[in-house]
């Protein structure tokens, strides 16, 4: 299982590196989708089968499709423009900061931890009991938040129509 985990980690690193370097936004979105698929397998290995399914349903099925819709609405010229000038002004300084951060994170991970804890799968039923037991009001709050978001998007869209 550790070997499979390491393989997934290497795959994830390669895909994320690809996301960073790919100039075409559509290709970057597809690479992120593949990376999230790898993450879903990792979640399953970590004893979270429900979250693995939700990662595929919510992230791959909804959020990344939303990105593809946005790309479609923006049209091909937006993609071409972002492919032509993909790096920000002053990016070498940001790259330097990122390099320092990478070294710090690598040092932290290097010293850290061997957590020798056996993995036990947490069944969806247990998660459901937690969601509708002690976390019931939080679930309701998230539901209200999602409703507010729908209203916000409708208001933004209505403003756009008026503007036209």
């Amino acid at each position: 299982m550790i070997a499979l985990g390491l393989l997934l980690l290497v795959l994830l690193a390669g895909l994320l590196f690809g996301v960073l370097l790919l100039r075409d936004t559509l290709h970057a979105v597809v690479a992120v989708a593949a990376a999230l698929g790898v993450l879903a397998i990792l979640f399953y290995l970590l004893g979270a089968p429900f979250l693995a399914a939700m990662e595929i349903l919510l992230y791959l099925g909804a959020i990344l499709v939303l990105f593809l819709f946005a790309l479609m609405l923006l049209g091909p010229e937006a993609r071409a423009a972002s492919a032509k000038r993909s790096w920000r002004r002053g990016w070498p300084w940001a790259a330097l900061v990122l390099l320092a951060l990478a070294l710090a994170l690598a040092a932290l991970l290097w010293q850290a931890l061997v957590i020798d804890e056996p993995i036990q799968a947490i069944a969806p039923a247990r998660l459901g009991h937690a969601l509708f037991g002690p976390f019931l009001w939080w679930s309701e709050a998230v539901a209200v938040l999602l409703f507010v978001v729908i209203a916000a998007v409708l208001v933004l869209h209505a403003g756009e129509d008026k503007h036209d």
Partner: protein
């Protein structure tokens, strides 16, 4: 296995931050924000596995809902920015200030 998961979270965090700091396109920015959300989610799941508790998974589920909730209006705003300014570049957003100055 938990160490591997934490390493995956580190990779996601780093990639998300790099996308936000280095790339010019706003839509790639949002993609970076999603990767940052995923990094937090992976850490929550690692906690759930470490302490054998469903609370970490509940937190991860809420984070998924929150990231979806954050993304929808952001994409709506992005389409609006494209319509108003005709560009999707982060550097182009300073036009807001210049335009305001010209109007005033």
């Amino acid at each position: 296995m938990i160490e591997i998961t934490l390493a995956a979270a580190t990779l996601l965090f780093f990639a998300g931050l790099a996308l936000i700091l280095l790339r010019r396109s706003l839509i790639v920015w949002l993609l970076g924000a999603e990767l940052l959300f995923n990094a937090a989610l992976v850490v929550a799941l690692a906690g759930a596995a470490r302490w054998h508790s469903p609370s970490g998974q509940v937190l991860a589920l809420f984070l998924m809902a929150l990231s979806g909730a954050a993304l929808a209006p952001s994409l709506a705003l992005l389409l609006r920015v494209k319509r108003e300014l005709g560009t999707l570049e982060v550097d182009g957003l300073r036009l807001l200030r210049e335009r305001e100055a010209q109007d005033g």
